[in-house]
Symmetry: C2
Subunit: 467 residues, 2 copies
C-alpha cells in the first residue's frame, strides 16, 4: 500500500468523452484506424482492467494484435495478465516476436512462465531470442515446473541476502531507489548460505529494532518453506494455518529458487474452480467467445459426440419395450420426465460431492459413508417426488395404476440417482479420472437406463391394469 | 512471514500413533468419551485444518459441540474459520453461549461479523452478552454491512496513528511485544486526523529512512481507499490494477473504519464461484453432508418440485401428438435423445456466459452480440450432430425418412438451444435474477418443448413416409 495514486481512474465524466462505455471497442477501432497510439492508451487508462479486456476481445483477431503492439508494453502486459491463460497465449502468439518479447518482459515472472510454457516451441523460441539472454533463461527455468505446484506458481524473484550481510544492507536495499520493491510482494528478507541454500528469515520487528551493524544470522529464525513440487492443495493448507503472505520455495538441494505468494494461491484456486465449473458442462480449454469459432465448435462437439453414444445406450432400453409403449402410449409422455427428474436429483449429489472433495471434507476412502448419507436423502426425496408425479400421472391420464407405475419408478430411480450421484465423483477421483468431466454423463446414463427400465418393466408387469 | 515455526505439523510417524488418518474421528470419539481434552487438542494439532474439519464434521451434532467446547478456544476458532460460513453458524449456535463467546472472541473480526450476523437474534444476543462489551459492540457494528461489500469483507482493526504522531511512535508500536502485529495482515500505517478521517499512509521505505522525530504528515502520501458500500467486484478491479495487499475502508464521513485485505477478496470470490456452482445444480445454502438430513432434503426438494412443473409443461407437448407416436412407436425412442442432446448443447453456452459474466467480459448489454456469436456455433454443431443422429436413426430403424426427421429436429433444436443458452444468463442478470439458479431449468424447458414439438410435428408432416 505504497505511493498510492490519488485519482479515481474511473471518472465517469472523463470516460464519456473518450468512448461509449457499452461499446468502447468502437473508439478503439477508430483510434487504430487513425493510427493514434496515444488515444488508444488513453482509452485503456480510463477503463478498468476487465472492461479493457472486454473491449480488446470484442475486436477482430488482427485488430487485437495491432492494438497490443501500439500500446506501451506495461499497459499491454496488464491486459495480458488480466486475461485467462489460454486467451493470453492466443493474444501473444499472434504478435511479432519483437513486440511480444517487449510485453512479456513486463509480465510478472510466474505469468511469463505460464504464457511461454503454453506457446508452440517455435513461437516461444522466437520470442525468447528477442529477450535479454538472462531473462529468457529465467523464463525457461520457471516454465519447466508443473502448473499446480509451488514451482509453477512461484515468482523467481526472491528478496534474499547472503549470511555475511548486516541489517544495514537490508535497509539500504529496502530504501534504494534502484529497485522496485513491489515486485517482491511483501516478502520478508531471506538469508542464504554460500551455496544459495535457504537458512533464515528476518522479521520486520527484528529489522526495526536491531542495530544496523548486526549480522543477519544473529536475528534470523528458521523459515517454513515448500519445495518446487509441493502441490497447490498442500500450500493452501499451510497458508490456511499460518498468517503468512507467502512462502519461500526451495529445490531438492535446499536452494532458494523462488517465492509463492498467498494471492497466487488464491488466484490458482479460483481459476481451478471456474475451469471445473465449465468442464462439468462439457466446455474445455476455458472457452471465451473471443476464441476462433472453429476451435470453440470442435471442442464442444468432441464432448457432445461422445454423449450421443451414451444416449444410444440409454435409448436402446426403450427399444426393447416398444410393445409396451404401443399398448400404453401415455408411457411415452412420462419417460423423459422420469429420466430428467432423476438426472437432476443425481446431479445435486454430484455437486455436493465435488464441492466436498474440493474443500478436502470428503476423500475417496469415504465412499460408503457418503453412500449411506445420500441414501437417506434419496429415500425421503424419492417418496415425495414419487407421490407428486404419481398424482400428476393419475389425474392427467385418469388411471391410478399408471400413477402407481410412474410414481414407483421415479421413487426407486431417485434413490439410485442420489446415492450413485454422491459416490461417482469419489470413485472417479480414486481412479485418477477428472470427476468434474465424467460424473455428469456417467450418472445421466445410469439414471436414464435405470429410469427407462423401471418405468417400462413395471408397466409391462401391470399391463392388464393399464389398458 | 515472521517467527515461523520450525516443525512440520504433519509428521506422519507422530500421526500414526494418535489416530487412523482415514478415520481420525474414531480417536476423537474415544478421547471425548475418556473426557481427555488434552488428547483431543493433540489430535487436532496433528491434523491439517481441512482434515481436522473433516473429522469434526463426521461426528454427531452433540459430539461436535462437546469437542469444540473442550478444545482451547484458539484451536476451535481455527476450525470455525476453516468451515464454510453456514456450517460455522450451525456449529456455534449449538454451543452454550459462554463457550461460543470464548471461541468467537478468538475469530478475526470479519469472520466474527459473518457468523454473528447469521445467527438467530436470541442466540446472537446471548453470545454477545458473554463478550467484552467493547468487542460485542464492534461485532455488531461489522455485522450490519452487506456481505459482498467492503464493509462486510473488512476487518475492523486498523493500524492507524493520529496526525500528531512521529515515525518513532510507529516503530515503537511495530516492535512492542504487547500487540499482535499479524492481525493487521501487513497493513501500512494509516494516518487519521482529529475527527478520525483517513488522511494519509506511510510507506515502509519512508518509515525506514526517516528520522524517528519526523512528524508522520511530513512523509505520508494520500492513500487510495474504498467506502463501506463499495461492492466486491469494484474492490477486485482496484486490486487487479494495483499491487496493494489491501485497502483502507472509510465511511460516508471519510472516517477510517476498517481495512479489506487482498486475501479476504480472493476468498470471497472463490466462495462465490463455488456457491454458484452448487446453485446451478439446485443445491442451496452451501450444503455439506454434515448438515441435518431434513434440512438437506427440504432444500433439494424445493428446487426439484418446481422442476416437476416445468417437466409437465414440456411433456404436455408430447401428449398433443399421441396419435403420431401410436403410428410410429420408434419416435418414443428418440424423444429423450433429442431433448437430452439439445439440453447439453445449450448448457455449454450457459456455462460460457456465466463465466464471461463473472470475469466481466460480457455484460447484459451484449445480448445481441452473444446471440450472434452463439448462432454460428449452433449452426455448425447442429449440422454435425443432426447428421450423426440421423444416420443412427436410419440404420437402427431402417427408415431414411425417420433419420431425416430426427436429424433435422436435432439440428434446428441445437441452434435454438445454443443461441438461447448463451443469452438466457444475460437476460436473467439484466432483470436482477440469479443466472446461476434459473438459467438451467429455463433453458431445459425451452429446449424440451421445442425439441418435442420439432420431432413430433415433423413426423406428423412426413407420416406417410414413416409408416
Amino acid at each position: 500500500m505504497t505511493d498510492a495514486p490519488t485519482i479515481d481512474p474511473r471518472d465517469p465524466e472523463e470516460g464519456a468523452r473518450l468512448f461509449d462505455p457499452d461499446e468502447p471497442w468502437v473508439s478503439l477501432r477508430e483510434a487504430l484506424e487513425a493510427d493514434d497510439p496515444q488515444r488508444l492508451a488513453a482509452i485503456f487508462e480510463e477503463l478498468s482492467l476487465s472492461d479493457g479486456l472486454r473491449a480488446l476481445l470484442q475486436l477482430e483477431a488482427e485488430e487485437r494484435t495491432s492494438v497490443l503492439a501500439a500500446l506501451p508494453p506495461e499497459l499491454a502486459a496488464e491486459l495480458i495478465t488480466e486475461a485467462p491463460n489460454e486467451q493470453a497465449v492466443d493474444l501473444v502468439e499472434h504478435m511479432e516476436a519483437g513486440d511480444a518479447a517487449d510485453i512479456i518482459e513486463e509480465l510478472d515472472s510466474d505469468i511469463q512462465a505460464d504464457v511461454v510454457g503454453e506457446l508452440d516451441k517455435d513461437d516461444a523460441d522466437a520470442i525468447l531470442a528477442e529477450m535479454e539472454p538472462e531473462e529468457a533463461a529465467e523464463v525457461l527455468r520457471l516454465a519447466e515446473y508443473d502448473d499446480d505446484t509451488a514451482g509453477g506458481l512461484m515468482i523467481g524473484e526472491t528478496f534474499s541476502f547472503p549470511n555475511t550481510d548486516t541489517v544495514g544492507a537490508v535497509i539500504r536495499r529496502l530504501t534504494s531507489e534502484d529497485e522496485d520493491f513491489e515486485r517482491y510482494r511483501g516478502q520478508h528478507p531471506y538469508i542464504i548460505d554460500e551455496e544459495g541454500r535457504l537458512i533464515g528469515v528476518v522479521s520486520l520487528r527484528n529489522l526495526l529494532t536491531a542495530k544496523r551493524s548486526t549480522a543477519l544470522p544473529d536475528i534470523m529464525v528458521v523459515p517454513m518453506s515448500v519445495t518446487t513440487d509441493t502441490p497447490l492443495e498442500d500450500i493452501q493448507d499451510l497458508l490456511d494455518e499460518h498468517e503468512f503472505l507467502g512462502l519461500p520455495v526451495i529445490d531438492s538441494e535446499g536452494k532458494l529458487v523462488g517465492t509463492v505468494s498467498r494471492s497466487a494461491i488464491s488466484d490458482a484456486l479460483l481459476e481451478r474452480s471456474e475451469s471445473e465449473s465449465l468442464r462439468r458442462q462439457g466446455v474445455f480449454g476455458d472457452e471465451l467467445r473471443s476464441m476462433p469459432l472453429i476451435l470453440r465448435s470442435r471442442r464442444r462437439l468432441a464432448w457432445l459426440s461422445a454423449n450421443i453414444i451414451l444416449n444410444v445406450i440409454a435409448a436402446s432400453v426403450i427399444s426393447v419395450y416398444e410393445e409396451t409403449i404401443a399398448a400404453v402410449i401415455a408411457i411415452a409422455i412420462f419417460l423423459p420426465m422420469v429420466s430428467d427428474m432423476s438426472g437432476c436429483s443425481g446431479n445435486q449429489s454430484v455437486a455436493v460431492s465435488l464441492r466436498e472433495l474440493a474443500l478436502g471434507l470428503t476423500k475417496p476412502v469415504d465412499v460408503f459413508r457418503v453412500w449411506a448419507k445420500e441414501v437417506s436423502v434419496g429415500v425421503i426425496n424419492g417418496v415425495v417426488l414419487g407421490i407428486l408425479i404419481g398424482i400428476v400421472a393419475w389425474i392427467w391420464k385418469g388411471n391410478a395404476f399408471l400413477g402407481l407405475v410412474i410414481g414407483l419408478a421415479l421413487a426407486i430411480n431417485t434413490v439410485i440417482a442420489v446415492s450413485i450421484g454422491g459416490v461417482v465423483p469419489l470413485l472417479l477421483k480414486r481412479f485418477n479420472q477428472d470427476p468434474a468431466v465424467a460424473s455428469g454423463p456417467l450418472l445421466t446414463t445410469i439414471t436414464d437406463v435405470a429410469g427407462f427400465f423401471l418405468v417400462l418393466s413395471l408397466a409391462t408387469l401391470m399391463m392388464p391394469l393399464l389398458v
